[in-house]
């Protein structure tokens, strides 16, 4: 695990990668696919971060009571992460009932976020070859979404599945596929894909 020194703190590279990937994926969606992502995107990220961070008080209740300020320094760890993912999934499912764009955008936004995250994180970790491969797949995905997703003869869920599987293939080549991180990405890919399938079944396309 790499760390990045910022002022008087050492921040795990994984946190920086998540925030940068979120910003980069939103920009890619806007400029390369013409899709302006709504507020739901930042809301989902904020809900995740708040749940993950504040759940420290839940999972380390005694420490939190003795030293409430400790919530500034720590987070809910793996259990906090699970709780955050559950909250984000519920939020996405609820909000897409009112905003049909969420179902339309979330699967593609999620894929670009996943690929950007891997490319950025591996760059921080100085795994040059892996970072290049993730970046290449990111470029391919942007082009595919830009030029293929709007064609009626292209099943978008199949396109998403193929790109996600290629991403998992790259991850497999450089380490074990069985990690909580990959499990999280796959779970959210399934949630957003199901939402997209339901959206398509209603007769609308990207």
């Amino acid at each position: 695990m790499s760390y990045i020194p910022i002022f008087h703190l050492t921040i795990p590279a994984i946190w920086i990668a998540v925030l940068l990937a979120a910003a980069v994926a939103k920009l890619f969606m806007r400029f390369f696919t013409g899709e302006k992502i709504g507020e739901w995107y930042w809301n989902a990220l904020t809900f995740y971060i708040l749940t993950w961070k504040l759940s420290y008080s839940l999972f380390h209740f005694e420490n939190f009571c003795n030293m409430p300020l400790s919530i500034l320094y720590f987070n809910g760890g793996l259990y906090g992460h699970f709780l955050g993912i559950v909250v984000v999934s519920i939020y996405l499912i609820m909000v897409q009932k009112k905003q049909w764009k969420v179902a339309k955008q979330s699967a593609f936004a999620w894929l670009l976020f996943f690929l950007s995250y891997q490319a950025i994180l591996q760059s921080f970790e100085k795994n040059v070859v892996e970072a290049i491969l993730h970046t290449l797949l990111l470029i391919i995905s942007i082009l595919a979404i830009r030029f293929l997703a709007k064609r009626t003869d292209v099943p978008n869920v199949l396109l998403l599945a193929a790109l996600l599987t290629l991403e998992l293939l790259i991850s497999s080549a450089f380490g074990s596929l069985w990690s909580w991180q990959n499990a999280t990405f796959i779970l959210l890919a399934i949630v957003t894909s199901i939402m997209y399938i339901r959206f398509e079944q209603k007769g609308q396309t990207l």
């Binding site: 703190l9 050492t10 500034l72 320094y73 003869d153 292209v154 599945a161 497999s172 380490g175 074990s176």
Partner: protein
Amino acid sequence: MIKKILFGILLLAAIGIMALNFFTKSESTKQSETITPTSTGLSLGAKAPDFTLTDQHGQTVQLSDYHGKKVILNFWATWCPPCRAEMPHMQQFHENNLDGDVEILAVNLTEQDNGEQAIGSFIDEFGLTFTMPMDETGSVAQTYQIRTVPTTYILNTKGEIAQKIIGPMDEQIMKNQTDSID
């Protein structure tokens, strides 16, 4: 046509994943860096500078005596809020690793601290039982260039610096850091 191509890519990638995960050893391709420490220093891979101090029980503690064990070399003071936040996690980690190969050496910046009584109360308050060398002259803090507390150096079994972390760590970070080194 495109549907067939996409399906083909999906199938080939899936077969590739299965081949990589089941037919090869699932070992990381990341080459372990074979850093040969040429000298003592504070950069990653260098041998951590040795020191001899007296701990909270009056026992002599020498860093080089811990070769063969992984060491969490922490620097702290009683007036530091993040140190207060970190201590329960460090104690928990210590209690969970009593039979393990990881030792905690939490060097107190005694020269900059608020006196013996404050240090004693702090140790009692959190029920700390790991080794706490007292840096009464400030020489070790100077050697390790401690500008901010808490600062922690993670040392491998050869006494080499594997990681430097500025800021508080929780038990999970300590576990991740010590599990990832030899």
